[in-house]
Symmetry: C2
Subunit: 384 residues, 2 copies
């Protein structure tokens, strides 16, 4: 793939050997990344689904470029900085987050004019703020009306509220009603999800009929998550998917049955720093490197070793991860290196400023997590 | 206090009004910060304890300077970058972390010569690596032998192992045996901890007698955590404390009884972005801004509102925090601003690049989280 050769200017001293890299540090297996990108591209092609990947997972224009090269029709972002950074490589951006408040709206309206911008939102207040900002700048903005189809996080209920909001958007001069969006984050399993999928299909079908009857039939029906990714063609009416985690996958994705262990591309390289307390080894990847993200299986730790999945990270302090050696005969030495598959890759990326791309034991490239942070693009550029 | 006036160059557009600041963003109440700093300074002075604060909580040379101005004898760091950044303002640094591996040792040995460096470690391997690095550079390095007094994370058991390691350090030409260190992180309560404190005292006393008998009586006995902070004078033999969280405090500190709610200086300012789902409100501070740190009380959320502590953040996604409105009559509107006291402040700081210092509703200053990250100082400087 094209992610190669250029070496980050922020990496103080460069090495191509994994052995010399300072830990803790996130690694991406480039072969697995390639495969993960290709697989979604083929699946979507086979089922005539548009792909608008959520870049929150990687926050990198380089990986976004690979997604676009494989047919993604645009990108999904959650923060103004993500949109600003991605505007360099993509002219069709969805902010899947209501831009509430003057500061966020100002930044959004300042995106380059060539960017076709769409926003998903779930309230009249948010739509009014957006309409006002659009009017002030004379800029047209697309809108997806966000529905709650079971996650109960955000989203209007697919009934009267939905119709009112779609109508308001449709009637606002500079807002363009582009469709509806939902996020089935409550479905955590890709294999045993049939009853939940049936309920989702029924609710979505009812919503679509309501909208059609009201003359508000949506151009786009945007949904999908990584756990439900391979079920997307079984969701009636869906036209667009927004998977994020699939680029790297993680322990949670394997637990959901949406990928195999060998599809996990992201690991945290760590060093054993203490074996003083019997029955455990302590590594230098703690909650500040790995994230305190729960396992899908209660009490099953915060990550597991790539080459010894039976060894889990059972306790975390800020800079310490405790490996439970209860299920292995392996007894690591102080100084030994290990690679941890995190429970949740998106958090790992957010916790680091640079990612290293590897093939086997060789470092091939590195890239900054360019859209990490909150501050405006100018500040992000000076960091990247 | 001296943290004032200078305004960060990385903040794109400056405002002194909290109302216009983009969310989510961490705020520090400067009056409370002052009070927290003063309180520890007085306590330590009254009890003839040296203070060597752990800067992992704030990662800022500005706050470190305030700690030193109030009598701290040096600083405690966990990572090479923290030590590099703090070397600008302090010439006596403890790395309370075994620097295992060539990359970390190289950086440590490259700290300015004027810095008196001490390292705490718990293994022969780590001590040998350090001795070798010290020999190669001709640099003398102090060592604390790290003991396990109940946390069972790192640390040698306070028996033969301890003596062997102290002897090895003492006999190594460029290593200076400065004392022992421990971290009583297993004691989570400052008020009901008497039996645990008695056990700690007994174990520490036995360790000190063993060392004395062997002619290895430690010059420094370094311990302490924020929860046990105000019990430090009841730990026999203790000469130095290394509190971190006390500068800001957090919900966990209040739950441990080590501070009052009004001592919590750090909050995350967030905006209500959705009230579409009944019984809850959604704010724009999710796990990427607030951290998924558990409450001391099982199931009690990830933070609570500063002015409505009965309202907790019960669910987190990456960019969404769900407020449970079940225990309040308050019904926020989309756009309303709230301040969240996090469960664990150190993680919040690590998740952000800039902190805003406020008095009341007025922003007085801001500072970068200068020692955040992993990469060498040169890269950190370009980010700060």
């Amino acid at each position: 793939m094209a992610i190669a050769s250029s070496i980050s200017a922020t990496a103080g001293s460069w090495t191509t050997s994994l052995e010399l890299l300072e830990t803790p540090v996130p690694l991406v297996d480039l072969d697995r990344l390639d495969r993960n990108l290709d697989r979604v591209s083929s699946y979507a092609g086979n089922h005539q689904l548009s792909v608008r990947p959520h870049i929150k997972t990687h926050k990198s224009p380089r990986i976004a470029t690979e997604q676009l090269r494989r047919g993604a029709i645009g990108l999904t972002c959650a923060t103004p900085l993500e949109a600003e950074v991605m505007a360099d490589v993509c002219a069709d951006i969805l902010l899947a987050y209501p831009p509430v408040g003057k500061a966020k709206l100002d930044r959004l309206m300042s995106l380059p004019e060539r960017v076709t911008l769409t926003v998903s939102l779930d309230s009249q207040e948010s739509a009014e703020q957006l309409a006002r900002a659009a009017r002030e700048r004379g800029r047209s903005v697309g809108v997806y009306v966000e529905l709650d189809l079971g996650l109960h996080r955000v989203g209007v209920s697919p009934a009267d509220e939905m119709l009112q909001l779609a109508r308001f958007v449709s009637d606002s001069p500079l807002l363009v009603y582009r469709g509806i969006a939902f996020y089935p984050g409550h479905i955590r399993s890709a294999t045993t999800s049939e009853p939940e999928l049936q309920r989702l299909n029924a609710d979505l079908g009812a919503a679509l009929r309501l909208l059609d009857t009201a003359g508000l039939g949506p151009g786009v029906v945007s949904g999908g998550s990584t756990p439900t990714l391979w079920q997307s063609h079984n969701i009636g009416g869906l036209t667009e998917i927004r998977p994020g985690t699939y680029v790297f996958n993680d322990r949670t994705t394997t637990q959901a049955g949406a990928c195999q262990w060998d599809d996990c591309a992201l690991t945290v390289l760590a060093t054993v720093v203490s074996t003083a307390v019997p029955g455990q080894a302590v590594v230098d990847a703690g909650s500040k490197a790995l994230g305190r993200e729960p396992s899908a299986i209660e009490g099953d730790g915060f990550g597991a070793l790539l080459n010894r999945p039976e060894v889990t990270v059972t306790r975390l302090s800020e800079e310490h991860g405790v490996l439970d050696l209860g299920r292995t005969a392996w007894r690591p030495q102080v100084g030994e290196r290990i690679r941890i598959v995190p429970n949740h890759g998106c958090i790992v990326v957010h916790l680091h400023e640079e990612i290293y791309g590897v093939r086997g034991e060789r470092i091939e490239t590195s890239w900054p997590v360019a859209a990490r942070g909150r501050q405006p693009r100018s500040a992000a550029l000076s960091r990247a």
